[in-house]
Amino acid sequence: MATTLKLEIVTPEAKTYSEDVEMVTLPGAEGEMGIYPNHVPLMAQVVPGEVIARKGGQDHFLAIGEGFVEITGNRVAILTDMAIKAENIDEVKAEEARKRAEARLAEKLDDTETALVAASLAHSLAQLKVKRRNR
């Protein structure tokens, strides 16, 4: 029986992550999901948040944007529009982005812009969450 999962995280710009891990926790649209090897095939929506990959007993954190996950037996493939490893997150920048997005939301915007700003706010919040948890 396989004891590892292949976790792949791809964005339109690059393949951000591709490793064999023991367990993955990801933010599903209907709550957090923990995936162990030999999971039933599952297709789910993911929301901006943090992905935790346990590898060799150590947890690795990543921030992801909205997207999808495809789970087949021993492969977890996440399709998302943003993915950043915890160590690459610039906290100051993320914090600035959050403030900017919140300020923009406070102004009166039309629906399109609100949606866009909310999306970028979710992105920066996800990054901040991952970064702060690391300490």
Partner: protein, 292 residues
């Protein structure tokens, strides 16, 4: 007859121009490679998306979505993807000639790139929104454009959305092309790569039974906008690759022309110099003969 000094000055200035165009050619070449690589980097994303679409498609038959609704086309939106800067040969000229073919009264334009915005302003057409994109297009920029177009469509302000961009055929050949973005006729696969926007990969299901969360319909519904965003992103990259290769070719021919001009001018210069020397010699010898 121009003086030797004039010609010398001319040669110098042409040489300077050649140097600049040569540098621009190099820069464009490297940027073109980058755009092509960026387009290829989207390949894992594209294949994964096709997998998901394939799986979802099996479970979600008789699926309908606001983005797939076909209506009588009374008003259409056209997204024009142009460049920001000139000096890229006939690229923008060809593109905007296509843009002018749409009916002015029933078409609103969405522009990406400064040249397109200028064109719309100059020809007094209806501009709906103006977007910018960087030299290395970001996915978020593509998403902004695609989101806007989807809004227009779902609100019923337009009944069809087309996108006009320069298709990258080869380094020497780029062609303006119109593609229908909305409504989505059938659900097709997406491909990445600079020729990616043209053909689409086949979607296939693996035959494995999947669970869906929340449901197959919801997943598919959420998938469609994503695949559109991705298509727009690939188109931006393609347009960038076209721009840089067009600029590279234009700059190469400019450099070649400048070099030829320097050659001609040098020949001219030498002719005049020789003629002057001969003339002076003649004068000296004839003066000497007159003295003796």
């Amino acid at each position: 007859m121009p003086s030797t000094r004039d010609i010398r000055r001319r040669i110098k200035s042409v040489k300077n121009t050649a140097q600049i165009t040569k540098a621009m050619q190099m820069v464009a070449a490297s940027k073109m490679r980058k755009a092509q690589q960026a387009a290829l980097a989207g390949r894992p994303y594209a294949s994964l998306m096709n997998e998901v679409l394939g799986e979802v498609g099996v479970d979600a038959t008789d699926f309908s979505h606001p983005l797939m609704e076909v209506r009588e086309v009374k008003k259409r939106a056209v997204i024009i993807v142009s460049t920001d800067k000139g000096l890229c040969g006939g690229l923008n000229g060809n593109l905007l000639r296509e843009a002018a073919k749409f009916d002015t009264n029933t078409t609103v334009y969405i522009t990406a790139g400064r040249k397109a915005s200028q064109f719309i302003a100059r020809t007094k057409r209806q501009l709906s929104a103006e977007f910018t994109y960087k030299d290395a297009p970001l996915f978020s920029e593509a998403r902004a454009i695609s989101k806007f177009a989807q809004e227009l469509f779902t609100k019923g302000e337009v009944d069809q959305v087309d996108i006009l961009y320069t298709n990258f055929i080869s380094t020497l050949n780029q062609k303006p092309q119109v593609r229908q973005l909305l409504p989505i006729g059938e659900i097709k696969g997406v491909t990445a790569g600079v020729h990616g926007a043209e053909e689409s990969e086949a979607i296939k299901a693996s035959g494995v039974e999947f669970l869906f969360e929340p449901s197959a319909h919801t997943v598919l519904g959420a998938m469609l906008p994503h695949s559109l965003n991705f298509q727009v992103y690939q188109i931006l990259l393609e347009a960038k690759a076209s721009e840089h290769s067009a600029r590279m070719v234009a700059m190469k021919s400019a450099t070649d022309n400048a070099k030829q001009l320097v050659k001609d001018l040098t020949l001219e210069y030498n002719k005049i110099r020789q003629a002057t020397i001969t003339k002076e010699l003649l004068e000296i010898t004839s003066a000497a003969m007159a003295m003796s």
